[in-house]
């Protein structure tokens, strides 16, 4: 009898742990994890070049049912910086609840916020870059998407 109770308790504990793990994993989905954008020189817009082929979209799904608190916020911060490319050239645009922003080398920049009301959030950010190119080539930058909750 004692053994059966122990087994039952262990099973419930395992289930709870499993659910907890799955919940944490689905709080935020971001894809694709690799995008490429082209740096548009300042004169290019004058010359008639458009953004069409130079920008990339990142999709974000948030499950507010798994969050605790009143408000969620999404922050972006570059984790690595290319030596020759100022990350400030990277910008993004987003529709509500996401917001437009410019990358900052040293601090988190707000990319979106909304209420924790149990409804799923499906949004996207469109990344593009404009600025003076240091030289021709490719410059990978790792960005952290950080989801924060406020009570």
């Amino acid at each position: 009898m004692k053994i059966r109770k122990l087994w039952g308790g262990g099973l419930i504990l395992l289930l709870l742990c499993g659910l907890g793990g799955a919940g944490a994993g689905d709080l935020m989905q971001v894809w694709p994890l690799q995008i490429e954008i082209a740096l548009l020189p300042p004169e290019a817009s004058q010359a008639g070049l458009t953004w069409g082929t130079l920008q990339s979209k990142v999709n974000i799904n948030l499950d507010t049912r798994l969050m605790r608190g009143h408000t969620w916020r999404l922050w972006l911060i570059p984790r690595s910086r290319p030596a020759r490319l100022p990350v400030q050239v990277i910008r993004w645009e987003g529709r509500t609840p996401m917001v437009n922003g410019t990358a900052s080398p040293d601090q988190r920049v707000l990319a979106g916020q909304g209420p924790i009301d149990g409804r799923p959030v499906s949004a996207s950010l469109v990344f593009w870059a404009q600025g003076d190119p240091p030289s021709a080539g490719t410059f990978p930058v790792h960005f952290d998407f950080i989801l924060e909750t406020l009570p």
Binding site: E36, Q46, P82, A136
Partner: protein, 187 residues
């Protein structure tokens, strides 16, 4: 002053211990906390590019006008433009190989009045400013008007052109119009 001792000391210790547990366990209500994080890689590519601006930027085509008066031979006529004058010329780019940048002009089509009369472009010269040397249109389709050796990386040149009509030929009265197209090529 009364010191705690014996059972009293034990009870006080228990109380502080319990409070300590409460403080440790109770989640802080007023602070934000990170709950998830994902990392993506954004690759910024700086492509090779070349931008040439002659006159006004954008799709505007400036019109340079020569208001001719007097008989031919009475001296060159200075032009005036719908844009800035002297006409600015700017070339910027990002290059991956060194070589020679060449600016050519196509003035092969003469100025026309619409009634079959023409004026060849070699009747028009320009006075250069900045990096642009002075010259005269030849009427060729690929006349080299400027050349400069370039290295890899950023490339930038600025200059200007003030145009003059020789006013040396007798032509039928009227308004003559023509177009010159500039092309910049780099290695």
């Amino acid at each position: 002053m009364k010191f705690l001792g014996g059972k009293g000391f034990f009870k006080a210790g228990l109380l502080f211990f319990s409070l300590g547990i409460l403080v440790l366990v109770r989640p802080s209500p007023g602070f934000a906390r990170d709950v998830a994080s994902r990392t993506i890689t954004i690759t910024v590519s700086a492509p090779v590019f070349l931008v040439l601006t002659v006159g006004s930027p954008g799709a505007i085509v400036d019109l340079v006008t020569f208001r001719v008066s007097g008989i031919p031979g009475s001296g060159p006529v200075r032009g005036e433009s719908t844009g800035a004058y002297p006409v600015p010329i700017q070339a910027r780019g990002l290059l991956t190989s060194a070589g020679t940048a060449t600016l050519t002009a196509d003035s092969s089509q003469p100025l026309k009045d619409g009634f079959g009369h023409t004026i060849p472009f070699n009747q028009i010269s320009w006075q250069g400013g900045g990096a642009m040397p002075s010259g005269r249109f030849s009427g060729a389709s690929k006349q080299i008007v400027w050349q400069q050796s370039t290295s890899t990386g950023k490339f930038s040149v600025q200059g200007s052109m003030a145009f003059f009509y020789d006013h040396a030929l007798y032509v039928a009265a009227g308004t003559y119009q023509g177009r010159v197209t500039y092309t910049l090529s780099v290695p």
